[in-house]
């Protein structure tokens, strides 16, 4: 229920702000990850580094990271219901998932993003 509203809100938001980045095909194994930060704080820098590393390790070639700095675009915080910084939002594949923190606890990130290898 909530997930659907969230997705709706996000897509509405995308139309205005990130239209060009919207992929046409939404393959179920493609990840769109949006990381919300607020300025270049230590936590933000750490989060970006952690995220890049993890994606390269686990999702090579099938992910895209968008970094949103809320100091520049504060109006975007509302759409994804951002409270904590940093927050990582898995926009694709559905359902929307959120991970808060500097992503230093890799295990939690893997669980949170549902990245358990299919094996």
């Amino acid at each position: 229920m909530q997930t659907s509203t969230d997705t709706k809100k996000s897509s509405g938001l995308k139309k205005s702000s990130a239209k060009k980045r919207q992929p046409k095909a939404s393959r179920s194994d493609f990840f769109i990850l949006r990381l919300y930060i607020a300025g270049q704080t230590p936590n933000s820098v750490t989060a970006i580094a952690n995220l890049k590393k993890l994606c390269e390790d686990k999702l090579k070639g099938k992910y895209r990271i968008e970094v949103v700095d809320l100091l520049e675009k504060p109006q975007l915080a509302r759409g994804d219901q951002i409270i904590a910084i940093p927050t990582l939002v898995r926009r694709l594949p559905p359902p929307v998932k959120k991970i808060i923190g500097n992503l230093s606890k890799t295990e939690n990130v893997i669980v949170g993003l549902d990245l358990q290898p299919a094996r």
């Binding site: 607020a38 504060p74 219901q81």
Partner: protein
């Protein structure tokens, strides 16, 4: 002030206040909430805290030119707008005109995983953005404890909340934070620890199936405030709190007079009647004509072009109108001329405090110069004498400050505890008119005398009260009874 002042130079400096616009609350707090500070409003579910907070914002936007931001953690913008629409608040319009911004903060714990360090900058950014967008002066956070459900790390949350409150104060925003009542604390998560300046507790309790809402100012730094519980009412106009004006008995005594409506009775009071702004008690056993005397008083006031508010706790207005026809009083014409207003309430519909608040609110609306309460007996029956007295003290004080002349009728039964009630109440009254039945020589008649009337040389005679189709008149002076024996005896 008992508390140590960190800056001894500003000893007598009065805090600046931000008016809430809520009837009675601003009187209670000496002007409103502390300006540029955070106030906590706490209470159980359904006690009215969200409403109080929204009223604060709406009045700020509409009346005081102070736009506001509401960060709502519990209800969506749509729901909130619908909730307060019944009070005549148009949130959508205010939002459109950039007088108000509502940000619904939704936290779905199941959606969130925590992985490493974080802070609540997102919340700050949203708040700052909203404040900037509408140039807000007022902020409501309703209610932040929802964050405790959404954020696992309470240590982070607590320090972030503290930072949030400091942020609000740094930005000179007057804020209300609401909090759910805790079991052994004011709020469930001890929010009161972070808020130093002003804490207001709301309560909604039901005693003997009658619900009463009460408000207490738990603390208000830098302001002398009453610590009592004050009743408040939520009706179609929102919240109104019974004020405690004139606690100091500072009302001005007027010297002009108001006719009693019975020329012969005016005669008994130096030819002029009651003092304006005084309170009059009319007591008597059943059928002695109390309502007739009261209605006559009201009618006479209307005939002079004064507005009169008539509260009836026993009979419906139409019943009174019909009955008064039989004593030659045509009250409809005053109603049609919008001089006479009836308000009929069953004493049991709301609590005593509710009555008080309702009476107060109506008086504020009608702005009468005469108020009749007929009778107070039923209120007495409903609660203890002490409650009634404390309610009447406040009511009488309020009426005096507003310079409204008031008449209260009270049914007495000889030898009954009611008699004592009348005695307890009578000390508040400036004038006390006693009506009674008597049967000298087997012929029943009604009698009237003035038991007391402060500040004037009134007649001590007992007069026959003649209630007929022609109206109310006083007959000849009766010599066969003395006032003194009646009061002591029977």
């Amino acid at each position: 002030m008992p508390r140590a002042n960190p800056n001894p130079k500003v000893v007598r400096h009065q805090l600046s206040k931000t008016p809430t616009g809520i009837q009675g609350l601003d009187e209670l707090t000496g002007g409103g909430l502390p300006k540029g500070r955070v106030s906590l409003v706490c209470g159980k579910a359904g006690c009215g805290k969200s409403l109080l907070a929204m009223e604060f914002l709406v009045h700020g936007a509409v009346r005081y030119g102070e736009p506001g931001v509401c960060m709502n953690f519990e209800e969506t913008e749509e729901k909130l707008a619908a909730n307060v629409a019944s009070l005549g608040f148009d949130l959508r319009d205010l939002t459109k005109r950039k007088k108000l911004m509502i940000d619904y903060v939704f936290i779905e714990r199941s959606q969130i995983t925590e992985a490493g360090e974080y802070n609540l900058d997102g919340l700050f950014i949203r708040l700052a953005h909203a404040v900037k967008t509408v140039k807000a002066k007022r902020v409501v956070l309703d209610s932040v404890q929802a964050l405790f459900a959404g954020v696992a790390d309470t240590a982070i949350l607590r320090s972030e909340l503290q930072r949030l409150f400091r942020w609000l104060e740094d930005h000179k925003l007057t804020a209300i934070v609401t909090g759910e009542a805790g079991v052994n604390a004011l709020t469930r998560h001890g929010l009161e620890e972070y808020i130093a300046d002003c804490v207001i507790a709301l309560d909604h309790r039901v005693t003997e199936q009658i619900s009463t809402r009460r408000m207490r100012i738990v603390k208000y730094r830098g302001t002398a405030h009453g610590t009592d519980e004050y009743p408040f009412l939520i009706d179609e106009d929102g919240i109104s709190v019974m004020p405690i004006t004139s606690l100091a008995l500072a009302h001005r005594a007027l010297t002009d007079r108001v006719s009693t409506g019975i020329p012969a009775m005016d005669e008994m009071m130096e030819g002029k009647g009651f003092f304006r702004g005084s309170s009059v008690l009319v007591t008597g056993t059943a059928g002695t004509g109390k309502s007739s005397v009261a209605a006559n008083f009201a009618s006479a006031a209307c005939a002079r072009g004064e507005r009169c508010l008539y509260f009836t706790f026993e009979e419906s207005p139409s019943q009174i109108l019909r009955n008064m026809h039989s004593v030659g009083l045509n009250l409809e014409r005053w109603i049609n001329k919008r001089l006479l207003y009836f308000n009929a309430m069953r004493p049991t519909t709301v609590g005593l405090e509710g009555h008080l608040a309702a009476i107060h609110r109506l008086i504020g609306k009608v702005r009468p110069s005469i108020v009749v309460i007929d009778p107070i007996t039923n209120l007495v029956a409903e609660s203890g004498t002490y409650d009634v007295k404390s309610m009447l003290v406040r009511l009488v004080d309020f009426l005096k400050v507003e310079q409204i002349t008031s008449m209260f009728t009270n049914l007495t039964f000889a030898g009954d505890p009611q008699e004592r009630t009348a005695a307890a109440v009578s000390s508040l009254m400036d004038s006390w008119i006693v009506l009674r039945d008597s049967k000298p020589n087997g012929r029943p008649r009604r009698e009237l005398y003035i038991l007391k009337s402060r500040g004037m040389a009134h007649s001590r005679e007992v007069r026959e009260l003649i209630v007929s189709q022609r109206g109310i008149e006083l007959g000849m002076v009766l010599k066969d009874h003395t006032v003194a024996t009646h009061v002591a005896g029977q």
